[in-house]
């Protein structure tokens, strides 16, 4: 549905993105993740025909964003970063303008406006001037205009930035409700959010895609070893040599701050938890807790974005 092929964009001589390629299939919800200035917005602006790429091809539903720009724009709903809106217009009038600009037939406009205002829960604010609305409501108006004319693709740039926690939950609920009918590409730098709503994640850094996969696959692929954390009653020092002796265990470390806590790093091909438990109990120690530690998306992100070396090992 969304295709990017070798997209590059230079602002003057400054490259914003270099050779970005990815695909989003019909019905997918894909998260675009990256630190500020990584090129998320640039890529999205190219996909929405807001600006042309310096090199490469962007396609929506097989249509070229540059050559068949008008047809592409019919199919895409876009929520720009920081939600620029006409602050002097009332909500309903703005939506009426957006609907007719998007080519909704005159007699269907009112119905279409009612539909999107219903989805975004804007009915009570239909006649208020956008400039007087709170940030959360403006975000909803922005989302409402993106939904007009029922586009098959939604491109949302930082949909939850600047909102308070209840509003964030609200907007996530909204996006969740939209996933059945639209292919969604959304950008964010809030990691748990992406892990929660997206089936797939694209991680971009310094203008290049550094990883793309489902949140869970990313976790397992990037984790070079399995980490098992265990807590033992009393002094665990007696147990350590025995644990290190286990087949497949690479390293056992204690936690100075919390005595009794051990971290076992092992080969990830095998689940060593039963054996670890047996060893501890055989040594006469009391086992209080045993769990497999998963790398959070945050750890992966940090690893990809901060470490040059890990980029080489990362799937791209």
């Amino acid at each position: 549905m969304i295709e990017a092929e070798g997209l590059s964009k230079f602002y003057g001589s400054l490259p914003a993105i270099r050779d970005v390629s990815f695909q989003v299939k019909v019905g997918e919800v894909v998260g675009f993740l990256g630190p500020n200035g990584a090129g998320k917005s640039t890529t999205m602006r190219i996909l929405t025909c807001c600006m042309p790429p310096t090199a490469g091809v962007a396609r929506i539903d097989g249509l070229d964003c540059l050559e068949q720009s008008l047809a592409v724009r019919q199919k895409v709903g876009y929520l720009p970063e920081n939600v620029p809106l006409y602050l002097d217009l009332p909500v309903k009038r703005f939506l009426r303008f957006a609907a007719s600009a998007k080519g909704v037939e005159a007699r269907k406009i009112e119905g279409e406006i009612r539909r999107v205002m219903g989805i975004c829960r804007l009915e009570k604010n239909a006649h208020r001037i956008i400039g007087h609305l709170s940030k959360g409501y403006r975000q909803r108006v922005g989302l409402a205009q993106a939904l007009l004319n029922n586009p098959s693709v939604l491109i949302l740039d930082e949909p939850s930035i600047g909102l308070d926690p209840t509003q964030i939950i609200e907007i996530r609920r909204l996006i969740g409700a939209l996933r059945d009918e639209h292919t969604i590409l959304l950008s964010s730098h809030i990691l748990p959010e992406v892990a929660q709503i997206c089936q797939r994640v694209l991680i971009i850094n310094k203008g290049q895609i550094v990883a793309t996969d489902t949140p869970s696959n990313l976790t397992s692929q990037l984790q070079k070893s399995a980490h098992v954390s265990l807590t033992v009653k009393g002094d665990p020092s007696a147990v350590i040599p025995h644990l290190e002796g286990l087949d497949g265990v690479e390293k056992v470390t204690g936690d100075a701050a919390r005595p009794g806590r051990l971290l076992v790093e092992s080969d990830r091909s095998r689940d060593l938890r039963p054996e670890i438990a047996r060893v501890v109990v055989d040594q006469g120690a009391d086992l209080l807790e045993l769990k497999l530690m998963d790398m959070s998306l945050e750890d992966i992100f940090m690893q990809l974005v901060t470490e040059e070396t890990s980029q080489e090992g990362a799937p791209s």
């Binding site: 600006m51 042309p52 006409y86 998007k102």
Partner: protein
């Protein structure tokens, strides 16, 4: 013409909902009313004197003594107010970022430029219509040459079109409305006074400079003369600046 109607209606709403339009219209009509009054007053005075002097009475001419100076005066006011009508067209959208949003709607750049220009033209026509009652009233009390009146208004519309097209262009150059207004005012004034140097420059260039002058072409309309050269001049002027606006939008898009 995808989206022309939508953008046109939106621009009109923004224009008529903003205080700028009313302040501009009020100022324009107040000053032009003053000009109208003073021109009529002067004509009145001369008429009284002419009643004692038959030679002078023969030279009395309502079109020449009231209409023409009135429209020439009003054109100066237009020079001052037209940058205020156009300054926000693109500059405001660039500043608040809505231009990016418009770029993602299925609206052609051409429809957008034309719609914005048509909207300020409509506002200008609405303001100009405010001068009509005075003229009609004058026509009731005297024998006014209505063809001359038509010519004056046509000239006014063309002059306004030229000014507003240039203003549309300068508005697309910047995101600051004041800079857009100042640029537009400066360029318009330059077109106004460019003919002043014609008497002491190279004769070949003088003809060209004289042709460029916006006032020269307007002058013949106020005399009641419809010359196709003047019509062509104004149409080319408008087309040139709308075309430049279109190019500027394209360049803005590429620069991102």
């Amino acid at each position: 013409m995808n989206g022309f109607g939508a953008v046109y209606r939106k621009e009109l709403y923004s224009l008529f909902a903003s205080p700028i339009f009313y302040v501009v219209a009020f100022t324009f009509l107040l000053i032009s009313g003053y000009f109208f009054y003073s021109n009529i007053g002067y004509y009145n005075l001369v008429s009284f004197q002419a009643s004692q002097d038959p030679l002078m009475a023969r030279q009395l001419n309502l079109s020449e003594m009231v209409l023409r100076p009135f429209f020439l005066n009003v054109s100066v006011v237009l020079l001052l107010i037209s940058p205020l009508l156009t300054m926000r067209l693109y500059a405001e959208e660039r500043k608040i970022g809505t231009l990016d949003l418009l770029f993602t709607y299925p609206i052609t750049d051409r429809a957008m430029v034309l719609a914005k220009f048509a909207a300020v033209m409509t506002a200008f026509v609405a303001i100009l219509a405010g001068t009509l009652p005075g003229i009609v009233l004058l026509g009731n009390f005297s024998s006014l040459n209505w063809k001359a009146v038509f010519s004056c208004y046509l000239g006014m519309l063309l002059l306004g079109g030229a000014f507003l097209s240039l203003g549309t262009f300068t508005s697309s150059l910047t995101q600051n409305q004041i800079i857009a207004a100042v640029l537009s005012f400066g360029a318009l004034l330059m077109f106004w006074i460019i003919g002043w140097i014609k008497s002491f420059i190279d004769p070949g260039l003088a003809g060209f400079v004289d042709y460029l002058s916006v006032t020269n072409h307007f002058d013949s309309f106020t005399k009641g003369v419809l010359d196709s050269r003047d019509l062509v001049y104004y149409l080319l002027f408008v087309l040139l600046f709308l075309f430049l606006t279109l190019r500027q939008m394209e360049s803005y898009r590429w620069r991102g």
